[in-house]
Symmetry: C2
């Protein structure tokens, strides 16, 4: 079993790359759910949905989230009733949220709901939310505390980040199967997701960081930072706000003790010498997942770095 | 003030006809809510929505319900999750249901929600649900009890009707404003709606039938039955199942004591002599609301019968 910790857009591309290279059934993705939120009375779970839609081959490749060819008719109508519509939920996407909200109201745990939705899309990778409990990323700004989606989408990640906290994380338990998926992994990957917005909340659930730290198998991360910039907003903004160096050395420092290897882009090849003293081996490769070929190449590099034979 | 008791498709056309003839602000529509139901965790209220969309000029004229040019993308996606999709909720329509469900969960009474939605559509007629309390039409068939929407839409009103009951009606209270709208009416109309499926549940709410019976102003009904057939299913099927004669005399008998006049179609002009002994004056006119001109003509006939000057 191969286990991946991941967030949404960047993470889903990496999981999809792995799933097109090895048997999807060998892969377990542990997905950030601290971006979950409620809109219009519906429970929205952005990262698990992005991973699901990506693995189903239905994601909008350009945006990285939502469905290809999506429409937003229902949302246009919500304006009549004075609702905010900055959170762009499409007509098709809405079916997922309505289905999920109903199952949660029927007291199904989030992990069962994530699995049910993945099944509906024929996804063969095993998807686990990091926790069935409520954890919420709150971004602390000069204007006050802002929930993650509002910070990212409504405010375009433009407020300087003064702090980030994961509300509820301290009391959350890993979802069923999460700790076993880490402990029994042949190899563990940290996807090129936002280290603070996506990976840190997973690691903040008691037991998960420890399990990763103790894993005696190859643990490989892919840097989401290339040449000092993040592939997806707002990783760089959040790293800068919390005082991290916004480059691959900053990523390596955050993951030190949790990974054995870090895949960095060719643009950052000269930083390897600064990273290796942290006990993190550097693998230099093209990391931009521009297209199917680039994705497959990155997956092959990652699997090779972990000693996994496809 | 003009007050109208009405259901969905036929009722909405009549209310719209009145509203294009006299000031919409003079009209109060008391609408059946015993067809309300829950689908996919959303509270659906077919008759108030049909009246709202019709008055907003956005209804699909052909079907008589839903929006013109509606799409059903979200519903197609619900199939993935194994949901029944016989109840056709469109993408735009869905916004209304999501908005309503949220307001109801926030403990707003249905009457406030109906008013809020009407306001969102710029509707100037005052819309009142018959009750804020839960009343549900259950159709008794040989195969068991069937909720009204399921009987009508999923089963195409094909099961012989053995009985009809309005669950909850006995304990329901008229919504705020309903009794006053009847008592203070200059004229009261019963729209050409299903007498059993739409009008009877309104009259079953304690206090409403009595207020109509005691009203000392012109009370005029429009027959939904023309030449022994109903304009909209399943009025005829339900009348037949309950042992009523399926023609204008059957309608007159159901409303005897509640109305002073009954507008019947020219096709039924020869039945007037059977009806007038019931104490119901007959007004013979074309009643098919085929187009705007026909609707306006019927409204003029009705207002004239009630002695109302536009």
């Amino acid at each position: 079993m191969i286990t991946v910790l991941c967030g949404g857009v960047g993470g889903s591309r990496f999981v999809r790359a792995l799933a097109s290279t090895i048997e999807p059934e060998r892969i377990t993705a542990i997905i950030n759910t601290a971006d979950d939120d409620e809109f219009h009375g519906l429970y929205v779970s952005p990262d698990p949905d992005i991973v699901t839609y990506a693995l189903a081959g239905e994601v909008d490749e350009e945006r990285g989230w939502g469905f290809r060819g999506e429409t937003f008719r229902w949302l246009e109508h919500m304006r009549r009733f004075g609702h905010e519509t900055w959170f762009q939920i499409g007509d098709r996407d809405l079916a997922t949220h309505i289905h999920r909200t109903r199952l949660l109201r029927d007291d199904l745990p989030l992990s069962a709901v994530v699995a049910d939705i993945a099944r509906g899309f024929g996804v063969r990778v095993r998807l686990l939310p990091m926790s069935d409990d409520r954890v919420r990323t709150v971004v602390e700004t000069d204007g006050g505390d802002v929930p993650f989606q509002r910070f990212l989408i409504e405010r375009h990640a433009q407020d300087p980040v003064r702090g980030v906290r994961f509300e509820g994380a301290g009391a959350a338990r890993p979802a069923p199967g999460v700790l076993d998926a880490i402990r029994e992994a042949e190899a563990l990957f940290i996807a090129p997701s936002n280290p603070i917005g996506s990976i840190a909340p997973i690691l903040a659930v008691p037991g998960i960081r420890e399990a990763v730290a103790q894993l005696d198998r190859p643990r490989i991360a892919v840097s989401p930072i290339i040449a000092g910039r993040s592939l997806q907003p707002p990783a760089a903004e959040m790293m800068a706000g919390l005082g991290h160096v916004v480059d691959v050395t900053g990523v390596a420092r955050m993951y030190a003790g949790l990974i054995d290897g870090l895949i960095i882009d060719e643009a950052d090849g000269d930083r390897a010498a600064e990273i290796e003293p942290l006990g993190v081996r550097c693998i230099v490769a093209p990391t931009l997942m521009r297209d199917e070929a680039a994705r497959r190449h990155l997956a092959a590099v990652a699997l090779d770095a972990a000693g996994i034979t496809p």
